[in-house]
Amino acid sequence: MKFADFVCFEATIQELQADNRDDAIMELVSSLENAGGLSKRILKDIARDIIKRENEASTGMGKGVAIPHIKHKSVKGIVGVVGLSSAGVDFFALDKHPVHLVILLISPEDDPDKHLQAMENIFRHLQKEKFRKFLRQCSGSEEVKDLLIEADEDPSL
């Protein structure tokens, strides 16, 4: 699976206003809703579920990266949104460091394989220091989009 298959590029937040996890999640979910990637009706539901999931175990996996995610019956296909924070968000990450890259993901309930494929794609790229650096340096959602599409086409990135 490619980034272009599930990332809602229009919803990218180039600089998160939030400095804490829950506000960052709300910001990202709202941005998805604004961009039309999510219906307003379920916005609060989704945000609450994602926070609940984070409380069970943080998806801040270290290296300044967090992948908050849930499965939700209201979405038909996987939808993701990227948020960057130069100041850093406290995500209760495994390595206790602030998070600078957030990729929030909502997957349908009945397609676990697709969810795994999206995760595979995200981690294959995020584990590369070069990719993380490039993503953090993006100024503007257009640059984020260009980088992710380039990554889709060039496995070495």
Binding site: A57, I67, P112, D113, H115, Q117
Partner: protein, 113 residues
């Protein structure tokens, strides 16, 4: 996360250069596959052992102690993974990981149950 490399070297010394390596194929039995929560359980157990642990599918080999790398396997229900452990506690590591994947199936539901 691989703090064990040197340990193996010193422990084996010059007299006993034998490397303890154990391998086993396991099958993913929970419906949702190796998503993040099971992946974390796997990495938590792997990190309890000194042995180096690698996990592979048909395409890639990854570090069994890294959450990002294990998540990269995208192992779906029914897929098979090869777990390889090398080091002083290789056998114990393999046993514990096999139990987690195949017997406990990460404490998650299996299809049709």
């Amino acid at each position: 996360m691989n703090l064990d490399k040197q340990y193996i070297g010193t422990k084996a010394g010059k007299e006993t250069l034998e490397k303890v390596v154990h391998e086993m194929e396991v099958e993913i039995k929970n419906s949702d596959g190796l998503h993040m929560r099971p992946a974390m359980q796997f990495v938590d157990i792997a990190n309890k052992f000194d042995s180096e642990i690698t996990v592979s599918n048909a395409q890639t080999n990854v570090d069994g102690k890294s959450i990002m790398q294990i998540s990269m396997l995208a192992a779906t229900y029914g897929s098979k993974l090869k777990i390889r452990a090398e080091g002083p506690d290789a056998q114990e590591a393999i046993n514990a990981l096999r139990e987690l994947v195949e017997e406990k199936h990460f404490d998650e539901p299996m299809p049709g149950r």
